[in-house]
Amino acid sequence: MSISAEKKMSLKLDNVSYIYESGTNMERKALENINLEISKGEFIGIIGHTGSGKSTLVTLLNGLISPSGGSIYWDGQDINDKSFDRKMLRSKVGLVFQYPEHQLFEADVFSDVCFGPKNLGLSADEVKERAYRAIKDVHLDDKYLKQSPFELSGGQKRRVAIAGVLAMGPEILVLDEPCAGLDPKGRNEILDLLSSLHENEGITVVLVSHSMEDVADHADRIVVMDKGHIVYDEAPKRVFGHVHELEEMGLSVPEVTYIMNDLADEGFAVSRDVTTIDEAVAEIKRLVER
């Protein structure tokens, strides 16, 4: 089936559900009635409590698992059609798992990054070219190329893992908590990298995160998951306007949003829909200088 009205390069989930261990007494519904469309150039943040279905959702996006119900379309084509090229989809939708450095295995950094494109059946020159480019994109110094990936720091290892996915030439990069377990320095490196891939390379980014501040600072659209459903799918300002609802789901809003809410509650004439420090500085300056 193909929907011709669909615009190019979009990934669309239509009424998707996913059930683990279906038909056994361990059966557990992980996702229900998911409708989501990802278009070119977006930076989407996905937030939700542990167990809300975030990770299941991202593994559906490149066809690693197939939905129990509903359909997923890539450029209007159903990815579960027999004629659909799944291998192509896996290179177009690059998935970076949690703790991706656990998947590094080659003897040196360069071979590890080459592994993905090599498996796409590209020529040796093309593989090398892509690997060099990906390594440049993640700002990894050339001096590490011949080193064992296991000798690098946590943040560097993670960048090697991301380079391996970038070398596949994805249009959408999906990352499941790419900053988990990193220190602030490593975290900033990864977030800056995502911003530059989005802005300079035009890559669509889907970022699953536990940090409200990180998604507020980077995403232009936030999807909130709770108990297998999409509860909100809006701009950051609107999502973080639902303070009480988010708290009931075990989530929160960025600290600056709390501050501005507190100020407004105390009678100060400030806007509540502030989600970044820059906005808060501007808003408070405006208040003070009136």
């Binding site: 409590h49 542990t50 990193l182 490593g186 709390y258 100020l263 105390e266 420090i277 003070v288």
Partner: protein, 291 residues
């Protein structure tokens, strides 16, 4: 005095493929610090700053290459005190999955006291008491595999409490947890300090977890580079940013406003404080305008 390290130096020995030493890396370079009984201490620093290496000296998992470490009145170099030191100063690590060995929660918590030779009936008392302290008594008969990260970490903490330590070192206990798991673990650590009067040393890179500490040490390149109350530490935003540490958003906001000419004090730690100070600033400004 709970812990005293004097001019502590530690070198990691690098080995080649045959296992022969081929150089060394200095991980700690002259660390001197005192921890008083009953204090809640935080040690901040990014990866590779030496904070975990320091922590491992506090219960004799590592021995100094130079200088000394005392736990109570025991020198950690003195092997005859090894088990006393490990019982006095317990340790909770980063990954809960690496610390849990029991098939059932109560069995896991009882493992420590059992190895210390505590009589059976007392083991059960300790297990019950420890699980109550961390709020996990209803999971007593559960399998640890079925618990969330935060719950597993609380079971690990109960296992340490059951050994009746005077001091517990938490080595990045929340690095692998989600926000609610982080809150559970930090709440448990604070309660151990407030209620049980256990000395706590919390190693972390999350700044928001150290706001309640009595004293904060910031490490970089194997040395203590900053030392003071949370307020003193958080007043030095530019230095913290230079060390690439994260400053709580409320502290950062106040700092940024100061740079814009809005004179709020440095080292604001809570939202409440921020609002109070901003209110005072605005009324000061209005008074000046009226006059």
């Amino acid at each position: 005095m709970m812990i005293r390290s004097s001019d502590l130096v530690f070198d990691y020995i690098k080995r080649d493929e045959e296992g022969n030493p081929c150089g060394s890396v200095r991980a700690l370079d002259g660390v001197s610090l005192d921890v008083e009984k009953g204090q809640f201490i935080a040690v901040l620093g990014h990866n590779g700053s030496g904070k975990s290496t320091l922590a491992k000296h506090f219960n004799a998992l590592l021995y100094p290459s130079g200088g000394t470490v005392y736990v109570g009145d025991m020198n950690t170099m003195d092997d005859s005190h090894l088990w006393d030191i490990r019982q006095t100063c317990g340790m909770v690590f980063q990954n809960p999955d690496n610390q849990i060995i029991g098939q059932v929660v109560e069995e896991d918590v009882g493992f420590g006291p059992e190895n210390m030779g505590v009589p059976t009936e007392q083991i059960w008392e300790r297990v019950e008491e420890s699980l109550r302290i961390v709020g996990m008594e209803e999971y007593r008969n559960s399998s640890p595999n079925r618990l969330s990260g935060g719950q597993k970490q609380r079971v690990s903490i109960a296992g340490v409490i059951a050994m009746h330590p005077e001091c517990i070192v938490f080595d990045e206990p929340t690095a692998m947890l989600d926000p609610s798991g982080r809150r559970e673990v930090i709440r448990a650590a604070r309660a151990l300090n407030d209620v049980e009067k256990i000395t706590i040393i919390l190693i972390t890179h999350y700044m928001d977890e150290v706001v309640f500490a009595d004293r904060v040490f910031v490490m970089d390149g194997g040395s203590v580079v900053m030392d003071g109350s949370p307020r003193e530490i958080f007043s030095r935003v530019d230095e913290l940013e230079h060390l690439r540490l994260d400053v709580p958003q409320v502290t950062l906001l106040a700092h940024r406003l100061r740079k814009e000419g809005i004179e709020l004090p440095e080292g604001i730690l809570t939202r409440k404080e921020f609002i109070k100070e901003l209110r005072e600033y605005i009324s000061r400004k209005e008074n000046v305008t009226k006059a």
